[in-house]
């Protein structure tokens, strides 16, 4: 690559550092080894009682201790760990002094049952506890840490302070596309010339009773609890839902010019981003697949590539009947006759659906796929679905040289983001 600008004259945006943490482990090396060996990180939930639940499994991250556990506390801790890895690999800035803004994909923040029960107990109310009782004791001073922890800004503020990112930290939520949105925000800021570098993070540690039950009530989750490793079955005819999971991914994005100037190793190029919202329904895609198709085409156009250039699709591939069907509708429209022969695998078959983090985690795995020339498989592909004639890299990793890959993220609320990643 000789020029610092792309086909539209914009600064080329590259990845110079990555950090990842999933139910498979911490760090690029452990994750990549497990992912390409077809290992599942899905397990029985041990964090809280599972009595009466229809789904009793998840891709929890149980090996990272936090004091006063809560979704934002663990999400923040996972983010810290992946940022340390990414910034370390990039060798950018100084410790606590990252030379650019923070774009954070974060799950919505809400006080949890543990805190509500603590307030109720403090209220001394015996029979019928109401919010009036909670309000009566809330201001006694001892619950101030709850207030701070459950501000939507707390995770981003704490990360910005710890890593010394510049300006106001942006925390974004576009449901299961959030990680992709955070990357897109970083890419756009660099293309505008606002900054030479951006720190992009997706993190999610939301496996708690209410979050699990909310998804369960929408009939979105797999109930194939035994064995847990078999539950996530993207593209299989007997797929029945996704598996909630936790994880985090961080990427250091830089302008190619900036990376060159400081002699950084360039891991990959973020060649294009596409984004199209879907106004059809709150949880379902337009039946014609138009928004998904437009989103992939927009990402390709942004990258200045024809569909023929794409050698691998990192599928959204949640393993819900609806998602996998609609993703195939989109891919077959965009890629035509080649659709069934482009390898298209789902990391979620092994790590589950890390929701807010998924777009960032899977972009990192897409970069590792390109760099290693090895496609992670879709495990649990036992019963092919004749309606989805995909090459999902069934069950065993495959060595293939890939120059350009597309990573898809689709979420509730009509959120669609596609990224095109390529070799240097």
């Amino acid at each position: 690559m000789t020029k610092d600008t792309d086909h539209l004259g914009r600064p080329i945006v590259v990845v110079t550092g990555m950090g990842v943490l999933t139910s498979l482990g911490q760090g690029q090396a452990d994750n990549w080894a497990a992912l390409t060996s077809g290992v599942s990180g899905i397990r029985r939930i041990s964090r809280f009682p599972i009595d009466g639940l229809r789904t009793t499994i998840a891709g929890t991250v149980d090996f990272v201790p936090v004091p006063e556990p809560s979704a934002p506390a663990l999400s923040q801790r996972l983010a810290e760990l992946v940022i340390e890895e990414a910034v370390g690999e990039a060798g950018i800035g100084r410790v606590g002094d990252f030379p650019g803004p923070l774009f954070l994909a974060l799950p919505p923040v809400e006080m949890e049952w543990g805190q509500r029960f603590a307030l109720a107990a403090a209220s001394g109310a015996n029979d019928a506890v109401t919010y009036d009782d909670l309000l009566r004791v809330a201001g006694n001073g001892s619950f101030e840490p709850y207030y701070r922890r459950f501000l939507f800004s707390s995770v981003g503020e704490n990360l910005a302070e710890r890593f010394g990112t510049k300006g106001s930290p942006v925390a974004t939520s576009t449901a299961c596309a959030s990680g992709g949105t955070a990357i897109q925000l970083g890419v756009e800021a660099i293309r505008r010339g606002e900054t030479d570098a951006a720190l992009v993070v997706g993190t999610d540690a939301s496996v708690n009773p209410e979050s699990l039950i909310r998804f369960s009530l929408l009939s979105a989750l797999s109930t194939r609890n035994d064995p847990p490793s078999s539950a996530s079955r993207p593209f299989s005819k007997d797929r029945e839902g996704f598996v909630m999971a936790e994880g985090a991914g961080a990427l250091v994005l830089e302008s190619l010019a900036g990376a060159r100037a400081r002699g950084a190793v360039v891991l990959a190029v973020v060649e294009g981003c596409g984004e199209v919202a879907d106004g059809f329904h709150r949880t379902r895609s337009s039946p014609d697949g138009k928004p998904i198709i437009a989103c992939m085409r927009e990402a390709l156009a942004d990258a200045g590539l024809e569909p023929d250039a794409i050698g691998y699709i990192n599928a959204h591939g949640t393993g819900t009947p609806e998602n996998d069907k609609m993703e195939w509708v989109g891919v077959s429209a965009v890629f035509g006759e080649r659709a069934g022969s482009i390898p298209m695998s789902s990391n979620k078959s092994m790590i589950g659906h890390s929701l807010t983090a998924a777009g960032a985690v899977e972009a990192i795995f897409s970069v590792l796929t390109i760099r290693n020339g090895l496609l992670p498989p879709t495990i649990n592909y036992d019963v092919p679905d004749p309606a989805l004639p995909v090459d999902c890299v069934p069950n065993v990793a495959r060595a293939v040289r890939v120059r350009h890959a597309i990573s898809n993220s689709f979420g509730f609320g009509g959120q669609n983001v596609c990224l095109v990643l390529g070799t240097v």
Binding site: P49, S168, A277
Partner: protein, 393 residues
């Protein structure tokens, strides 16, 4: 000097205790009487949302039922902004219109919560009890009425804004960053016309609970923002929905749209709020926009929350500017995510009318000179400092 990629405000949608729409707000600001609900959540008060004719902006009852109040407030204000800009129903334009929404989360089912809180301590197996009641008692669709990004999702469904959809979270700063990034994208040609804003329902026990845990809720007397500082300050929350249509000067001119105002500059930053740090951020922001600033016709629309430390420091900073100031939270209550868009809307209305509305309390000075620009501040009650300069279009 006018530039083709200037970011112009061409549409305003706003609902609050003062009414519905920009004109109603302008009238109410010029004949200000506080609208407070002191009965529903004693010992606290809130600025309650004025009654809305929801059908005007959310015609399908099915859509209304799928949303909780915070989403209905936002979807209503978004539709009003599209109407105000003259783009409502323009499918071609809306399909390429981008959107950034600043959002918190939605309402809970308070009856279900109360029942679980009551039964849990007595349950033989508390964990099983919680699971059983969440599974049995939560409405399946409530989740979608709570998710932060589903305000944007509902705007896509009801109004057809589908060019892009991003949701920012993080109290006051999220509203300011949403506008900042919209303006930056327009300036850089990463979009021509965008919808930006947010909504807040203050009439909810769970949000009052949150700020009460932080020791921030104001108690009687419920005075205006500056006057209440003598007694220690505090937050008086208000239900607000506010969306703005922001577009490039070229795009607005091409479709013959008239603009309220021009966002000449906007900046945001953060600090730990050690004494003086927020002031240093504000000073740096102000100096960065000096080229556009003309004190002769300027005033300040302040987003001061009322929280003691930040409001005291902002008040001192503003005193140094020597401009007339209006605190928008006195008028509509403090509304977190949409508070900055709402202050920006007030600034845009004032600039378009060429006159500042009268003082909202004794501490605010009158302004008789013509108004040509307004500084808009947003210092978060906890973190985040933002400043914008709004000038005549």
């Amino acid at each position: 000097m006018a530039h083709e990629r200037d970011a112009l405000i061409t549409g305003i949608g706003i609902v609050s205790c003062l009414g519905s729409g920009a004109d109603a707000h302008w009238a109410a600001l010029n004949a200000f009487t506080p609208v407070l609900d002191t009965d529903s959540f004693p010992p606290f008060a809130v600025h309650p949302l004025a009654p809305l004719e929801l059908d005007k902006q959310i015609p399908k009852r099915g859509d209304q039922r799928q949303m909780e109040a915070w989403q209905r407030i936002g979807v209503f204000a978004a539709g009003q902004a599209l109407d105000s800009a003259g783009v409502k129903g323009n499918t071609d334009l809306l399909s390429r219109m981008g959107m950034i929404v600043a959002a918190g989360g939605g309402e809970r089912d308070y009856a279900v919560d109360a029942a679980i809180l009551s039964g849990y301590p007595k349950a033989a197996n508390p964990g099983a009890y919680l699971n059983e009641h969440l599974l049995g008692d939560l409405r399946p669709t409530l989740f979608l009425a709570q998710l932060s990004n589903l305000l944007a999702g509902n705007i896509s469904i009801v109004h057809g804004v589908i060019g892009s959809s991003r949701t920012f979270m993080g109290e006051e700063a999220s509203g300011a960053d949403a506008v900042r990034i919209v303006c930056a994208r327009i300036a850089a040609g990463q979009g021509d016309i965008m919808l930006v804003g947010g909504s807040y329902n203050a009439q909810r026990p769970d949000v009052l609970l949150h700020y009460e845990m932080g020791g921030l809720q104001l108690r009687s007397p419920f005075g205006p923002v500056w006057a209440r500082q003598a007694a220690g300050g505090g937050l008086l929350l208000g239900s607000v929905g506010c969306f703005l249509v922001i577009e490039s000067r070229t795009h607005a001119a091409a479709r013959g749209a008239s603009a309220y105002a021009h966002i000449a500059a906007i900046r945001s930053d953060r600090c730990l709020r050690q004494p003086g740090q927020a002031t240093a951020n504000a000073k740096a922001q102000f100096e960065a926009m000096a080229a556009h600033y003309d004190p002769a016709g300027a005033a300040v629309i302040s987003g001061a929350s009322g929280a003691a430390a930040a409001t005291r420091e902002e008040s001192a900073f503003l005193a140094g500017l020597g401009l007339p100031v209006r605190a928008s939270a006195t008028a509509v209550g403090h509304s977190l995510e949409p508070s900055f868009p709402a202050s920006l809307a007030f600034a845009a209305m004032a600039v378009r009318h060429g006159v500042l509305f009268p003082p909202l309390e004794a501490a605010e000075q009158a302004m008789t000179a013509p108004l040509t620009q307004a500084l808009v501040t947003s210092w978060g009650h906890w973190r985040g400092e933002s400043l914008a300069l709004v000038t005549t279009a």
